[in-house]
Subunit: 336 residues, 2 copies
């Protein structure tokens, strides 16, 4: 295992130290918890947007702390949920009297700890809502949609929910809109080389030299099948077909596209993937409001990618196109 | 070789098609050349900033087409210079009567073709200047500074030169400032896993499972030495020591920092690298005006990173902090 680290047991802490050193204008860390919060206070009190999860997914989660995105992050160990106490501390720190919304992914450890933090915060009189992303169609059938795990669709959830909160909407409205964004989002991924966990040196899955894992999760969880490697266009066709059978699109619908690299895959390949995504969408006469291609939610140095489509209504479109300014996600206002 | 491609011979073209599909508001392609240009014309005529080089380095070069950065790119095959004719066509297309500046890296194929394009363009009455980046201190000793090749320092050259042109400066002034930026920039990298060339399936270098290549180039060129893998902090110390012996810094100096991932290295590791860079700079009481950490100039899926320091004067600092809006590089104005 050749990694640029010092000690496998402190990679998360040292990485966060380096992150804080890079963006002192954007983020600060709470003293007694691995919680990072937005440094520049919003001009007016707003709903606090809080997320968190295991580490090893940068830019998720800490890269998204900023204007129009999230206000605070509780960062767990590699691929492990953050403790409830840290989420609670983030909530106490960030509440501006307008309540907080927890926007996180559907993994059992995260769910348990965010719900415990919700109970603790509510006992202090802070209003809490939550939205849990479940965008990975490979992880459970449509009838069990709420059992699905989250993958890169979380980024779209943060973008839209964060924009709603930044726009000054009330907690119930931020909750309603973000629920809709998650409901309208579908993703699926593929992996070719596994991530290696620093503390153990272990690969999170094994594949032979001509295989890929279709439907792979963000921690290397198994997907639908191990298949022989095939041309990019065929992989994209398979993923898009599954997404389109899960969520109906019709001519004239508007979507956002996220082609997300999982860590080691070259941008060049991600653009080849996007080429086919765009061609398929054009074939269905579905219109793309915005396209993101890049590394938005990685799995250490896993090779592979995921495709995320979100069906947009006018509200969602305005919010996804609005300005955002976080260390690892910057967007000029495109909504007007 | 498991890559998400369709045909090794058309990866560059298909990747560009996918890129154009993602950012139709930003870029368009000329009909008869692999030249991408800025779609939104600047409000007032300005010096045209043109670059180019081999493909396989995204975000370089095409990701930087936009406001405050470059106006046009001639994109060669993987790791191969673009033909002079394309650079000439880019120049003809982009000249607004204020001349053009070629900002490229010091590689023999690029130098030859950019100089030929300069001759062709000048014959048409277009004023041309050029600045050639030579930031990689591992590639030649200081006495042969102009023989050094370019690595990620090119990004800083484009940022500063592009901002100078966007600010409306005349050709000679853009040239002078960008020359200064390059003169003040030093980089060095390290590689652990090689990139694999799609057309041949060949690795660009070979290392054993406990080795790294110190001073590796952006195409996998050999550096100073193959060394045993060591902790991140020791690697950073070695690189920083070499940079500091090449360019003198004193307490109170201001710099920009670029920690650049070469493709497959996890962001987490890049931040661990930045942690040590920041610690060393603080030790010298050198002040950091801005830090960039991420994949800014890759080498397909090479694992490794480079560190780039640029010593800033007031002019360079104002320009590096100014607004930029390209598909793969967005920065809100930080200069005021």
């Amino acid at each position: 295992m050749k990694k640029y680290i010092n000690d496998p047991d402190i990679v998360v802490d040292q990485s966060i130290e380096g992150y804080l050193a890079a963006y002192p204008e954007y983020v600060r860390k709470l003293k007694d918890a691995r919680v990072l919060v937005r440094k520049r206070k919003p001009e007016k009190p707003k709903v606090a947007v809080i997320t968190g999860g295991g580490s090893g997914h940068k830019p998720a989660f800490i890269g998204y702390i900023g204007e129009g995105l999230v206000d605070g992050v509780a960062a767990g160990e590699i691929f492990a949920a953050p403790p409830a106490d840290w989420i609670y501390k983030a909530t106490k720190e960030l509440d501006m009297g307008k309540g907080a919304i927890y926007l996180y992914g559907n993994f059992s450890g995260d769910t348990m700890n965010f719900r415990l933090a919700k109970t603790l915060s509510e006992a202090d009189g802070i209003a809490i809502e939550e939205v849990v992303a479940y965008d990975d169609i490979a992880s459970a059938p449509a009838v069990d949609i709420k059992k699905r795990r989250a993958i890169a669709g979380e980024v779209i959830m943060w973008k839209i929910g964060g924009a709603a909160a930044e726009a000054g909407m009330e907690l119930s409205q931020v909750k309603e809109i973000t629920d809709q964004a998650v409901f309208n989002t579908r993703s699926m991924g593929v992996g070719t080389y596994p991530p290696v966990i620093p503390a153990t040196g272990k690969k999170s899955f094994e594949l032979s030299e001509d295989e890929m894992e279709i439907g792979v999760g963000h921690h290397g969880e198994p997907g639908i099948a191990k298949e022989k490697m095939k041309p990019a266009d065929s992989i994209v066709e398979e993923i898009m077909e599954r997404i389109f059978s899960d969520l109906t699109f019709k001519a004239g619908d508007r979507v956002s596209v996220l082609v997300n690299g999982l860590g080691a895959t070259a941008y060049q390949e991600l653009y080849i993937v996007n080429r086919k995504v765009a061609e398929i969408l054009a074939g269905y006469r579905v219109n793309t409001a915005i396209t993101y291609v890049g590394e938005y939610f990685t799995s250490l140095e896993m090779a592979g990618f995921s495709i995320t489509l979100t069906k947009l209504d006018d509200t969602l479109e305005k919010l996804i196109l609005s300005r955002a300014d976080a260390p690892m996600f910057k967007q000029f206002d495109l909504s007007s």
